[in-house]
Subunit: 409 residues, 2 copies
Amino acid sequence: MSDLLETVRGLAKKTDSKILLVVLDGIGGLPRTPGGETELASAKTPNLDALAQRSELGQLELVGAGITPGSGPGHLSLFGYDPLKYVVGRGALSAVGIGVKLNSGDVAVRGNFATLGEGRTVLDRRAGRPSDEKNAEIVARLRQAIPDIEGTPVEIYTESEHRFVVVFRAAGEPLGASISDVDPQATGVAPLTATAHDAASEKTAALVNAFVSRAEETLRAEEQVNGVLFRGYSDVPHFPSFDDAYQLRAACIASYPMYKGLASLVGMDVLTVEGQEDALEGKVAALTENWDKYDFFYFHVKKTDSTGEDGDFDAKVKKIELFDALLPQLLALQPDVLAIAGDHSTPSRLASHSWHPVPFLIHSEYGRKDVTSRYTEEEAQKGSLGLRRGTDLMPLLMAHALKLNKYGA
Amino acid sequence: MSDLLETVRGLAKKTDSKILLVVLDGIGGLPRTPGGETELASAKTPNLDALAQRSELGQLELVGAGITPGSGPGHLSLFGYDPLKYVVGRGALSAVGIGVKLNSGDVAVRGNFATLGEGRTVLDRRAGRPSDEKNAEIVARLRQAIPDIEGTPVEIYTESEHRFVVVFRAAGEPLGASISDVDPQATGVAPLTATAHDAASEKTAALVNAFVSRAEETLRAEEQVNGVLFRGYSDVPHFPSFDDAYQLRAACIASYPMYKGLASLVGMDVLTVEGQEDALEGKVAALTENWDKYDFFYFHVKKTDSTGEDGDFDAKVKKIELFDALLPQLLALQPDVLAIAGDHSTPSRLASHSWHPVPFLIHSEYGRKDVTSRYTEEEAQKGSLGLRRGTDLMPLLMAHALKLNKYGA
């Protein structure tokens, strides 16, 4: 397939129109029991219903038929980057998500603090889920103990609870990221020794193993937080930025590190959101305050996914209804193009991401009429926008915003 | 487009779930007269109807828009191998289908015995459809007369009636398979001289032309079976096997050589089926007996195609009804995922394969609701699975069987 992104990049133009892309994380679902209604169909959503009746609907397959997308690939696809071509590791996402700037050649790694017992046996892969404060205290000690490893600068950052991020800064040769996990993903066994899958990663594997030893040494007196486990190593990918690809000044409105990190990787400004957790009111405030400053907004709602991941059908329904209650405030801003989509499905029944297509909706002055009456999976199946790859969304939004020149004479 | 098969291969995992893929050969049809009902819609299929109401439907385009698939490409697509990338000639299929092991560099060719008249004019392209016994007798004479051609070993095999297969074994350099047909596909003209389309195939063209001369010399005293026509040359393709690509222990349940050959090329075990021709009861018996031994079954039904090829609308309807009567025995095995599809359409009105998409159905615990009420072309158009490439089927089946890990974090 020729890359649609490259074509769009050649056609994009700056205009005053505004695009608002709402991503309801993990929005697609399944019936609670086969043949029944999904979470979206069960929710009472008068505002979404009314919007659907004035919009066009369709379904997006984010990566490909049958493929269950992680949040990274799902979002990249929504942003127009083929997720099979642009691969971002979780380590890079986590690092960027907490505001760390990565350079070409660096490697970012996700770590878990763990509790080790006799003979380095893993007793708890999450070290009893320490508080963020405890995490920061441990990180401070590690920073002091491991400022570098044989000349390679090492940076250590708190993520939250048991999670932290290590960045190995390339000093000379770029560091490879193709190495095996330290995390055995099981208790009762010792942490694994990292091994390199290619020559470029041999130095990185040695750095990781040295880090593990020195961290255990440093933390030996700790009862719970006395070990580290690593998985999700990533080098730094190169994206055509949103500005370059779409001529868009783009802003991200999200609360969770990974989504902010991803948006920042593609060149969006990450706006400050006040409030705890999903902070929907804080997000609306950030959107409203910055409305005049950008022409593209990525507005992320997390809890539709978290509740699905918890397998809590009713809670997911409630989170959908919460968003519905918020929708009039978004409409009041009168975006030229409003899209609602998901980065993947998270059916409560599976309590995990799934491969099922997500319903999506585009509202603009230039939409055709279609027969859909609600924003649900079943209605989206009938929608005029059809079943599409996720990477089709951005070109459609750009077109509806009249931001694309004609292709060819 | 990056290859979805490669992505699936990286995500596939072994589980206990079982997939049953029923291929109703040539199942897609056309109305007997424009505006009427197709063969599927005309058939009385209470079991299929009930299944469709509990399943998701869609349409598969096996090769691409407007492209009429041969049985080889159609099946490859169903098995997840892009038929534009994995090209298997009919010769290789025929050879493997009768149990001949092909090696890299060999070329397999399909032949027809023909009746030649004055001046080598083709009088009958099928030599009056000789019996299999007559075929075998002729093949024995040719084997004796042509054990090799200038040092290249030649093997000759009976297929059935007028059909036979020749394998030229590479002795040193690999043989190319890009040569023109000997079969003029018309009577009243002489057989054509094979010419090479590339340098690698020049030796093969010479071998083919020498074979034709020596065969005519050997058979000169025969009245009916006195000439040979060739088309369908193929070298030996390399597939990631079903085991390698999908982590599946796969079994083929089919009666006709080509389908068994194809399944064996992609690494399926070919099960023994008792009975003549389509042997539906024998196939069900083979399926039932081997149910515990495999996690993927390819179950082939041939007569839906043969009747379409004969242009016999009513006979095709009957064969569909025969399958419908059998369906409860398949359902009784309780496959985790049951799919019904075709390798191409064979509308009776065209009396040949056609380019029309085939309806397909997936039944699993993890399907969404859709509006379809029957397994027909018209209902499939409304199905939630949409209009897709044939290569999407296997990833979907793997996903529904929960045999694929998540892509990315």
